[in-house]
């Protein structure tokens, strides 16, 4: 069921190319990823869904060259992730944000934390000042620059982590369940930041999540199960497969499930409803 159209489209530039990639953690373990072929276009917003152990995070770590493929190859902006000389360039091109906000902030003050990346790149200090301020403004955290991170909310901490990636001038941002530990308002803050980065700054976004209401915001949804890509396509296409998605241990948005139930009961409404307004409008017609 893997669609190939995105490989056929030669006009667009791929920022990430995953070619026949398989991966196992150790020799006697089964494959965590099986023969994955996937391209991510520059500027695309892709979300990856899958239950725990489906291979999502492994894939993210491979792209970031934290792990290397057992078989196959991955290219980030044409750099092979196996090329150890390009390691830092790969990691700054595809920056990562992790699940637990408390595990990734190192500075004692917000702006120090954001400066950590560019400092390590050996950038001159007046330039670092500029980069840090810009990055913090982009995630709307500039006014908190003098705060110690432990006094921030979870959503604010994650935005600082995102600013840290922006300070590296990453073209692609990989977020591994960035909202899993946040409350609804924190989740909203982070999602709005992500959408803004994609829209205004044309950043490529790879969002790994369990939350369907976040996945529907993406241009493309990829569903993984047992180390394989099982479904992919526009959110509307993917979420109309209610039964299949449930089989993979995932939820669909409540509104999609309700729409499917109504169709089963004889209502004549679209199969691919993913937003509340769509269902309400169709019922009111």
């Amino acid at each position: 069921m893997v669609s190939m159209d995105n490989n056929l489209n030669k006009n667009k530039e791929n920022i990430i190319e995953i070619k026949n990639v398989s991966f196992r953690y150790s020799k006697d373990e089964k494959l965590a990823l099986k023969d994955i072929n996937l391209n991510i276009e520059k500027g695309e917003f892709v979300s990856i869904l899958g239950h725990n152990g489906s291979g999502k995070s492994t894939l993210a770590k491979l792209i970031n060259s934290i792990l290397l493929p057992t078989e196959g190859e991955i290219f980030v902006k044409n750099m092979n992730t196996k090329d150890q000389e390009k390691l830092w360039e790969i990691r700054s091109t595809a920056g990562m944000v992790f699940q637990n906000p408390d595990n990734q902030l190192v500075g004692t003050v917000v702006e120090e934390d954001v400066a950590f990346g560019p400092e390590n790149q050996g950038i001159e200090s007046s330039m670092i000042r500029k980069i840090v301020d810009e990055s913090l403004k982009t995630v709307d955290m500039f006014e908190f620059r003098k705060r110690p991170p432990h006094l921030l909310s979870g959503g604010q901490k994650q935005r600082i982590a995102i600013a840290g990636v922006l300070a590296l001038n990453s073209e692609c941002i990989i977020l591994d369940e960035p909202t899993a530990m946040l409350d609804p308002s924190g989740r909203k803050e982070v999602m709005e930041t992500i959408k803004k980065l994609n829209m205004n700054q044309k950043k490529t976004i790879l969002l790994i999540t369990h939350f369907m209401d976040e996945a529907v915001e993406a241009d493309r949804v990829i569903v993984m199960d047992e180390g394989e890509v099982k479904l992919q396509g526009k959110p509307k296409e993917v979420f109309s497969n209610v039964d299949k998605i449930k089989k993979f241990g995932l939820d669909v948005p409540q509104v999609s499930e309700l729409a499917q139930e109504l169709i089963k009961s004889g209502f004549n409404i679209s199969k691919d409803i993913i937003h509340v307004e769509e269902l309400v409008n169709e019922l009111c017609q």
Binding site: H51, N52, G53, Q99, L151, S153, G154, G155, E177, A180, M181, L182, D183, P184, S185, G186, H210, D213, G249, L250, D251, P253, Q254, V255, E257, L258, E261, L262, S265, G266, F267, N268, V276, E277, L279, V280, L283, C284
Partner: protein
């Protein structure tokens, strides 16, 4: 008998520039046998409140009374209170440390200096209560289990103390949908089977809607709303104002109502929503 707070107030970092009233004049009473939810966004005071419930924090002002015993009284033994009120923290699986599931769950009862046989009975009781096959799981390493299973082992560790009240702080945080369902349905069964009072702390409205019959909403340290699940969800605008979502189903029903259809809006699961829509729109069915 109950857990009761009277004008409970608590301040963090008192006397510094970061002083905040984490709890502000809270009055509530959770009666035995109830299944209640406490919701509020991060920083609303939920976790501070439940740490008062088993004496981990002492109130700055006001009182907290557990099963008729005021925690301020010198004669109240906190050790006893902590047996009455079991608290399962966020990410409790991080606290697993023993080599086998059995030893981990037995840790509490052993510290109570119970006889070996009683310890074993309690471990069996607790593991079965959270849905495990005792024989199958007891000798496993907790670290070989899935996220949802680990969390159930951690909950069993608290249940082995035979508490009368079980408080769960964000029991589904960080789990995938399958893990979430697993934990929630076990909690539901456990409440039915053991009649234990369950206090579920969460910011997931879907989780809360599914299980509890009474909700307390905290905002900025204050008790913002209190009522049955239906009463609370009918105030979706108020909830959104304080940073809480409502299940999508609630939104759908509200929107239909706004468009002038006579639908019930106190509905929050898919099956009820479907039936209600069929009731109201059924005549348009093109079957």
């Amino acid at each position: 008998m109950s857990i009761k707070t009277v004008n409970l107030t608590f301040k963090y970092s008192e006397g510094t520039q970061f002083e905040t009233k984490a709890l502000d004049n809270i009055n509530m009473e959770i009666k035995k046998g109830e299944f209640v939810g406490i919701i509020g966004h991060t920083g609303s005071g939920k976790s501070t409140l439940i740490q008062h419930f088993n004496g981990l924090i002492k109130p700055d002002e006001g009182d907290i009374i557990i099963e008729g015993k005021n925690l301020r009284d010198k004669s109240t033994k906190l050790k006893l209170i902590r047996q009455i009120v079991g608290l399962v923290f966020q990410y409790p699986e991080h606290q697993l440390f023993e080599e086998t599931v059995y030893n981990d769950v037995a840790y509490g009862p052993i510290n109570l200096e119970l006889k070996e046989k009683e310890v074993e009975e309690r471990v069996k009781y607790a593991l079965e209560l959270v849905g495990f096959d005792y024989k199958e799981v007891k000798d496993k390493s907790p670290f070989d289990l899935s996220g949802g299973q680990k969390r159930r082992v951690a909950i069993a560790g608290v249940l082995a103390m035979k508490p009368q009240y079980l408080i769960l702080d964000e029991p589904t945080a960080g789990l995938d949908p399958a893990g979430r369902n697993e934990i929630l349905s076990q909690i539901e069964k456990l409440h039915k089977k053991s009649k234990i009072t369950v206090i579920l702390v969460s910011h997931s409205m879907e989780d809360i809607a599914r299980l509890v019959n009474h909700i307390y909403v905290l905002n900025k340290g204050k008790l913002y709303m209190e009522g049955t699940t239906k009463e609370i969800y009918s105030q979706s605008e108020e909830l959104k104002k304080i940073g809480l979502g409502v299940p999508q189903i609630v939104d759908i029903m509200k929107e239909l109502k706004k468009k002038g259809f006579e639908v019930n809006t106190d509905i929050f699961n898919i099956q009820d929503a479907k039936n209600e829509i069929i009731r109201v729109f059924g005549s348009n069915l093109n079957v």
